[in-house]
Amino acid sequence: DTAVSQTPKYLVTQMGNDKSIKCEQNLGHDTMYWYKQDSKKFLKIMFSYNNKELIINETVPNRFSPKSPDKAHLNLHINSLELGDSAVYFCASSQGLNQPQHFGDGTRLSIL
């Protein structure tokens, strides 16, 4: 019974394509996040989503857009994929703000 689950685990695609990564949490949390971990293991916040309020890290290109159909899901859509988008993307959730976050297993995205 995984708490935060992401699909797919691996995603290999070509430059220019549009892809989505799904995230679901069964913890009843009301805040979800997306992080990007690059090849040097550096982790960077991309989005925070709480009660329909989206907070975006200003450095994230607008090709990236989160979509939340309900409180338990926060999917990540990426348009016009670029080589630099290759990374591991982690979804996380927390119960409210300023609470510890629980992370998913990550999605390794590779752009050819």
């Binding site: 996040y33 982790l43 925070s48 709480n50 907070i55 982690f90 703000l97 300023n98 992370f103 297993d105």
Partner: protein
């Protein structure tokens, strides 16, 4: 904007050695502090957290960390490491009323030799 620095990028220890990993942050206001661990091929797991109160916090697996406000530091310690502690360790900071978004340090890769 806040930033987090982990000065030790790679640490190699023998089993039973003591561990201290440095973490410094730059932000003048109230912060929440965390240490996460990432075992090879796995997701991030919370080791411990500091929100307020006793600046010495104890986490899982025998880890502890001390918040020293005057030094803007939150160093992670363990008196005796085990081979199974081999992993990447991340210090992180969040600011109240900032979407709870975590700012991570660059990580410290710990290798424990059996």
């Amino acid at each position: 904007a806040q930033s987090v620095s982990q000065h030790n990028h790679h640490v190699i220890l023998s089993e039973a050695a003591s561990l201290e990993l440095g973490c410094n942050y730059s932000y003048g206001g109230t912060v929440n502090l965390f240490w996460y661990v990432q075992y090879p091929g796995q997701h991030l797991q919370l080791l411990l957290k500091y929100f307020s109160g006793d600046p010495l916090v104890k986490g899982i697996k025998g880890f502890e960390a001390e918040f020293i406000k005057s030094k803007f530091s939150f160093n992670l310690r363990k008196p005796s490491v085990q081979w199974s502690d081999t992993a990447e360790y991340f210090c992180a900071v969040s600011i109240n009323n900032a979407g709870n978004m975590l700012t991570f340090g660059g990580g410290t890769r710990l290798m424990v030799k059996p």
